[in-house]
Amino acid sequence: MENQVSEVHDVVIIGSGPAGLTAAIYTARANLSPVLIEGEPSSTSDQPGGQLMLTTEVENFPGFPEGIQGPDLMTAFREQAERFGTTIRTEKVSRVDFSERPFRIWVGGSSGEPDYVARAVIVATGARALMLGLEAEQRLLGHGVSTCATCDGFFFRDQHICVVGGGDSAMEEANFLSRFASKVTVIHRRDELRASKIMADRAMANPKIEFLWNSTVLDVLGESKVEGVRVRDTVTGEESTHPFTGLFVAIGHQPNTDLFKGQLELHDNGYLVTTGNRSTTSVEGVFACGDVQDDWYRQAITAAGSGCMAAIDAERWLETQGH
């Protein structure tokens, strides 16, 4: 490792979505020379740039009246953070020790001496998409089961596919996939959508989208590619098989907080506890922002806003510590 283990950084930021990169822009401009550990590439939302890397058009981020592509927005965030001197590391944090100061952070498979030592830490690890938890889902990932509609929708031209879920991301995926697919069936376990009105209305009005209400997925069929989906009606208990050739899952998110169990206080649902209107966590000097501590708003703009809060909180706290 080329890291200077002896060097104590003022601020280390873990995570590189809108929250982490905004915290980097602010702490870099405050001359705190932040190090941002951005994570490692993956095809899930747990990756550098975060959940927006898997979206297409972002229509509600202020300042872009014509909309902007999610990955382009995150590239711009990253460039802005680098412009003011943020050091960005493409590594994944594997362990933290917040039991004493300065805080210690390990990346990859390393053990022994910590890779980073920091006076203040900003946690912005976000949330990742939930999967159904079926054996067949893992086996058929990349063979008709997909975690990224924007990446893989193209391969389902003129096919009848399904989206599981009833929230905004499920509606967004269904609408996007309807550009390619002959038909998109939304499988939802309730009889009404959880999605916002604008997203629900758009999906309902789309002639290529139909709904299977009160339904849960029991199994995905096929050996080497998706050949069908087994579904149970939650009201009648009746089971049926549908010949979908693709399955996209959008059933919600879970926070990326496994790293912090036993280190920081978590809510029962796994999200980090922050105090009042601040970004402070249960450990003095550790701050949290973005979806990792927000199970309510979960927007790019609120994540960015809370990233700014965490940066200012960290800066002021470091001042009180004489740094």
Partner: protein, 107 residues
């Protein structure tokens, strides 16, 4: 850093079959966020393993027939060929250490 050779439906076979070294083909597209993250890692790997590994890319939107031929239904997908035979397939974006593990059979 090395620019990856861009393959087409026409040059695909001759590149994959004719090379002395193993050939990595990165199936990608412009609209795929995770593909953009894996590209610089592949360029690094290409630099570090010159002579053993030739790293190329194929735009699935421009050349869908090749993607179809190899049953690619998700991107990024990386297929490693040795003497024209598929020896390793990686579906989805990954970090450098993991990719080097996956490529180990040809390194």
């Amino acid at each position: 850093m090395a620019q990856l050779t861009e393959l087409t439906a026409d040059t695909f076979s001759e590149t994959v079959n004719g090379a002395q070294e193993a050939v990595v083909v990165d199936f990608w597209a412009e609209w795929c966020g995770p593909c953009k993250k894996i590209a610089p890692i592949l360029e690094e790997i290409a630099d570090e393993h010159q002579g053993k590994l030739r790293v190329t890319k194929l735009d699935v939107e421009a050349h869908p027939s090749v993607a179809q031929q190899y049953g690619v239904m998700a991107i990024p997908t990386l297929i490693v060929f040795k003497d024209g035979q598929e020896v390793v397939r990686v579906t989805g974006s990954k970090g450098k250490a993991q990719l080097l593990d996956d490529f180990a059979p040809v390194l």
